[in-house]
């Protein structure tokens, strides 16, 4: 084996030397034979001549020896590649066109693959990621999944038998970092001590949390993210063991996360949070039982025991769910438990879209392949003589095929290299244009997998379009092309070309349909009224430090401190020139933040245990409705007098009014929000507001319950201020900042955005896939038109003589034009029919990506067919006109 390898290396890399030695060896053999003959009395000259004659052809002997050498295939390959490159250089126009086409096709595929690779294919950046699961509460009534109540997490962790570890994450704590100057908001997460060991994360510095730090009193410790460590603490290793002040309390820094750590997330996880600056222990021990079972803030992760199947784990969880349903009927009667592999969960809502885009770009490449196959066919016709000659000289068909394929693959590899270069240059720009909520977007890079993909794709592409002319040359006999004319081959070629064109048109139509459908769907989505004003609105998010929240008790509505701050801020904001009105809301629509509460209606019979009516919960300040432009349809809006001391009031939206008071008037009725003390809890409905699309534009409004900020049962530490402006809202950003710091410099303001920006970001995924599909479809249309143009030109040139005769016997140029266009129209219409069948078959796969239209939207199908037919006819019109304009005498003389 080793010797073979050695021989291989020597034969391939030291070819000249090996050849030289062989030559010398044979010469010395000749000399020896001659010397023998000389001894027998022949003259030296005569002896040498005889020896040569005995030997036969020196070259033949050498060739025979070469044939047995290890690595002869490699040798031939190098020969073929050299020859291919020479041929490509000799036909620069063909090579440039083909390589550019391929670079575009393969480059686009590679770019799409880098995204798919990073988001869908790469293993998650954790230890043994395939064993990681997310675990959710499932509402048995409708199957919806939700985050987890702390007490449930404790029970699961204790009772489950199939997990190595189970850990919880509370993604909501916010910290205000005091110290160096301006107060800064840090986004925090609280985790149970098993969290980092579960993921297999090793700290860059220090340690992970200890088990005892899960307990209250021990939990004043913090782990910093790498970027926070660099940004806020200068990357000093001395920070370990030191105290930092968060929310006016001292926390000891025990660790720093590694630079490359990030918590992969589904777009809908953790609401709008996509990074965590500081991590603290969760410390849930002291909360009241009703809170532990009644609120559901936690994301739960589990690591499967080795060798255990996912199904076993789910069965284990089902068993626990049945236990808990029995033990806690009030909370868990309708609660199941569902495990989802982490990877599957993370990509759940982008998987289909990304694979669709990858398939689309693959189709573009297919069309490009057809074009190059067409070019090769033309060239093959021109090279018939060369090929016949080589066959006549003894080259085997297999050897010729090998060489032609090598040419195609070399072409494709050059195209692939150029495409890869484009991608490497373009990846930063690409990452910039991706939707912000695409999971794992930060991991997008050209890595080994991408290189392997590009190589494989290039080779496959080369084989694919390289096989077409081979298929064609198989029909031709060896000597036919040596005869003049070769009409029969031309006819065979025409059929093959026509088939390629039909295929291109069909594939292009499939792509155009896909793009048309997503465009129409996106357009429909943008036409949806969100239920509020989007123009001339500026928003910003505040983080209230603990001094505002101290003394607050659940359900008491103790907001005086906050109210005072907010009143003063609104007052200042209203006086900013260009501001028409200002208001607060706890949960801004389309911002990714939300909250829902169970509620009861006064006088209705109580629901069975574990069954609730749920409404979105919206504390807002008095001017909110007029500021953001949500209409009050009946009754009144909130006024400043709806405060801590006045009777409790609420406003419901239209959906809630219709759902719960089908026949009556809700105004004057009273509702109570779940968990509030009965004596104080009843709130009177004073108005009905218009519906708002809160979650995203595609989701129908849920029942929504508005209440005055000052009367909210819960503290809202991160309200959003909303300004309605008469001028460009972005010009007021600094004025808003100044107003906030003017009231209290310790209150950080961030996420300052216009409502337009928020709406635009909320449809980012949809816009991205629409734009990308549109680009691919136009590319397909363009490439297919070029192909059609090329083929029609070729077909016309083949029939020059025929057209000349026709015109000589009286055909008008108009009739020639009609003849050629008719031929094109036939191909195009067959292509479109096939394409329509394909489009209808494929469109149902993307049905779930569409909003407001079915995949069989007749308008779309008709308009893309018309567009394609128009462009394709235009592309064939140019060669048709050339044929019609030709001088009949010229064309007759031509042959």
């Amino acid at each position: 084996m080793v010797r073979r390898f050695y021989a291989f290396c020597r034969n391939v890399f030291r070819k000249n030397r090996v050849d030289h030695e062989l030559e010398e060896e044979i010469r010395s053999y000749l000399e020896l034979v001659a010397a023998e003959k000389v001894r027998c009395g022949v003259t030296r000259e005569e002896a040498l001549r005889e020896a040569r004659r005995d030997l036969g052809s020196l070259e033949r002997v050498k060739e025979n020896v070469r044939d047995i050498r290890t690595g002869i295939y490699m040798d031939r390959l190098i020969q073929d590649v050299r020859y291919a490159i020479r041929t490509l250089i000799k036909n620069p126009a063909f090579s440039v066109v083909a390589i550019l086409t391929l670079a575009l096709g393969i480059g686009a595929n590679t770019a799409m693959f880098t995204v798919v690779n990073a988001v869908l294919l790469k293993p998650l950046p954790y230890f043994q990621p395939d064993r990681l699961l997310t675990v959710w509460e499932r509402r048995l009534t409708d199957g919806t999944l939700g985050t987890v109540a702390p007490a449930n997490f404790f029970d699961w962790r204790e009772q489950s038998r199939s997990f190595d570890k189970m850990a919880a994450l509370d993604p909501y704590p916010d910290f205000i970092l005091n110290g160096n100057g301006e107060a800064k908001r840090l986004s925090g997460a609280a985790v149970s001590s098993d969290f980092f060991p579960l993921l297999g994360v090793r700290m860059a510095l220090g340690r992970s949390f200890l088990e005892k730090e899960d307990l209250p009193g021990e939990n004043q410790v913090v782990i910093l993210s790498y970027s926070t460590w660099l940004r806020e603490f200068g990357g000093r290793t001395g920070i370990l063991g030191k105290q930092v002040t968060l929310n006016n309390a001292g926390y000891t820094v025990v660790g720093v996360l590694p630079r490359d750590f990030s918590l992969v997330r589904n777009a809908s996880d953790f609401q709008s949070r996509n990074r965590f600056d500081v991590w603290t222990p969760i410390g849930l021990g002291s909360a009241p039982a009703s809170w532990l079972r009644g609120t559901h803030p936690l994301s739960v992760f589990g690591r499967l025991k080795p060798g255990l199947s996912f199904e076993r784990a789910q069965a284990d969880l089902d068993r626990i769910a049945r236990n808990l349903q029995r033990l806690y009927p009030v909370y868990d009667k309708e609660a199941g438990i569902t495990a989802i592999p982490l990877r599957q969960h993370v990509v759940a809502n982008v998987r289909l879209a990304l694979f669709t885009l990858l398939a689309a770009v693959g189709l573009v490449l297919l069309i490009a392949c057809a074009n190059i196959a067409n070019l090769l066919l033309t060239r093959a016709a021109a090279r018939q003589h060369e090929m016949s000659l080589r066959v006549a000289l003894g080259a085997s068909r297999k050897r010729l095929a090998q060489q032609l394929l090598t040419e195609s693959i070399v072409l494709a590899i050059f195209g692939g290299l150029l495409g890869l270069f484009l991608v490497v240059m373009g990846v930063p720009a690409l990452a910039h244009h991706l939707p912000k909520d695409l999971p794992r977007a930060s991991e997008i890079a050209v890595d080994g997998r991408v290189l392997a993909f590009t190589t494989l794709l290039s080779a496959l592409t080369g084989i694919l379009f390289g096989l077409v002319p081979l298929f064609q040359s198989r029909q031709a006999s060896a000597n036919a092309p040596l005869k003049e004319g070769g009409r029969g081959i031309a006819a065979g070629q025409s059929r093959l070309r026509s088939a390629l064109i039909v295929g291109q048109v069909a594939v292009a139509l499939v792509l155009l349909t896909g793009a048309g459908l997503t465009m129409k769907s996106f357009w429909t989505l943008l036409q949806v009224s969100p239920g509020f004003r989007t123009g001339h609105i500026l928003t910003g998010r505040l983080s209230l430090p603990p001094q505002y929240l101290n003394g607050y008790k659940f359900g008491t509505g103790e907001h005086r401190r906050i109210s005072a701050f907010e009143r003063e801020l609104l007052e200042r904001a209203r006086h900013i020139p260009g501001v028409q009105s200002a208001a607060f809301t706890a949960y801004l629509p389309l911002s990714g933040t939300d909250n829902s509460w169970a509620f009861n209606i006064e006088g209705r019979s109580p629901k069975p245990a574990g069954v609730y009516d749920v409404a979105n919960y919206r504390p807002v300040s008095a001017d909110y409705f007029q500021t953001i432009g949500v209409p009050i349809l009946r009754g009144r809006g909130f006024i400043d007098a709806d405060n801590e001391d006045s009777p409790l009031v609420v406003i419901v939206n239209q959906t809630m009014a219709r759902a719960f008071w089908q026949h009556g008037n809700p105004i004057g009725q009273r509702v109570r929000i779940g968990g509030e003390p009965k004596q104080r809890g009843w709130r009177t409905i004073v108005g009905i507001a218009g519906d708002v699309r809160h979650e995203n534009l595609a989701v129908r409004p849920q029942p929504q319950l508005y209440l005055p900020y000052a009367q909210a049962p819960n503290v809202e530490a991160r309200p959003t201020i909303v300004l309605r402006t008469s001028i460009d809202p972005t010009s007021l950003t600094s004025a808003l900042r100044k107003a906030v710091s003017g009231v209290d410099p310790n209150v950080p303001l961030d996420q300052v955005e216009t409502m337009k920006q928020i709406v635009s970001a909320s449809v980012g995924q949809s816009r991205f896939r629409t734009a990308v599909l549109l680009i691919f479809a136009l590319l397909a249309l363009f490439v297919a038109s070029i192909g059609l143009y090329g083929v029609m030109s070729y077909l016309v040139s083949q029939r020059t003589r025929e057209f000349g005769i026709r015109m000589a016997v009286g055909a008008t140029s108009g009739s020639i034009l009609r003849l050629v266009l008719g031929q094109a129209a036939k191909l195009i219409s067959i292509g479109i029919c096939l394409g329509l069948v394909g489009a209808v078959l494929l469109a149902r796969f993307i049905a779930s990506l569409l909003y407001g239209i079915t995949p069989f939207d007749a308008d779309t199908l008709i308009s893309v067919s018309a567009l394609l037919a128009g462009v394709a006819l235009l592309a064939s019109y140019i060669p048709a006109r050339r044929a019609a304009k030709a001088d009949p005498m010229d064309s007759l003389r031509y042959e």
Binding site: R3, R4, A7, E21, L22, E24, E25, I26, S28, Y29, E31, L32, V33, A35, E36, D54, L55, G56, R60, V61, N64, V65, D67, I68, R69, T70
Partner: protein, 110 residues
């Protein structure tokens, strides 16, 4: 064509080359002459099949070659058996003996 004959004789040729080198190292022509000698002139190996066979056996690791001086003081490439080559010679020889015995008894049968 010569190829089919060469194919038929390939195993034989390899064995003859190995055998011819069993005693001492030889150059190409020496091997050819030795084979003629030990087969009483039945096999005359031409350069066209000798050299490919030599190179194949060398790449298989059964022979090793080196440049040296011939008996007539000419530069020539000498081949000698390697240890695996000697083993191969035994294996091939045994196989061949079995075959030729079998063939002989088959042909003697009436």
């Amino acid at each position: 064509m010569a190829t089919s004959q060469a194919d038929l004789l390939q195993g034989t040729l390899d064995l003859l080359i190995l055998k011819s080198l069993a005693l001492e190292q030889l150059h190409g022509m020496g091997i050819s002459r030795r084979i003629a000698q030990i087969t009483n002139g039945t096999f005359e190996v031409k350069a066209g099949s000798l050299f490919p066979a030599l190179h194949r056996l060398e790449e298989a690791g059964w022979l090793r070659s080196s440049w040296g001086e011939s008996e007539t003081n000419r530069r020539a490439k000498f081949y000698r058996l390697t240890k695996p080559g000697r083993n191969q010679l035994h294996i091939e020889a045994e196989r061949w003996e079995r075959i030729s015995l079998a063939m002989a008894s088959a042909l003697r049968a009436t």
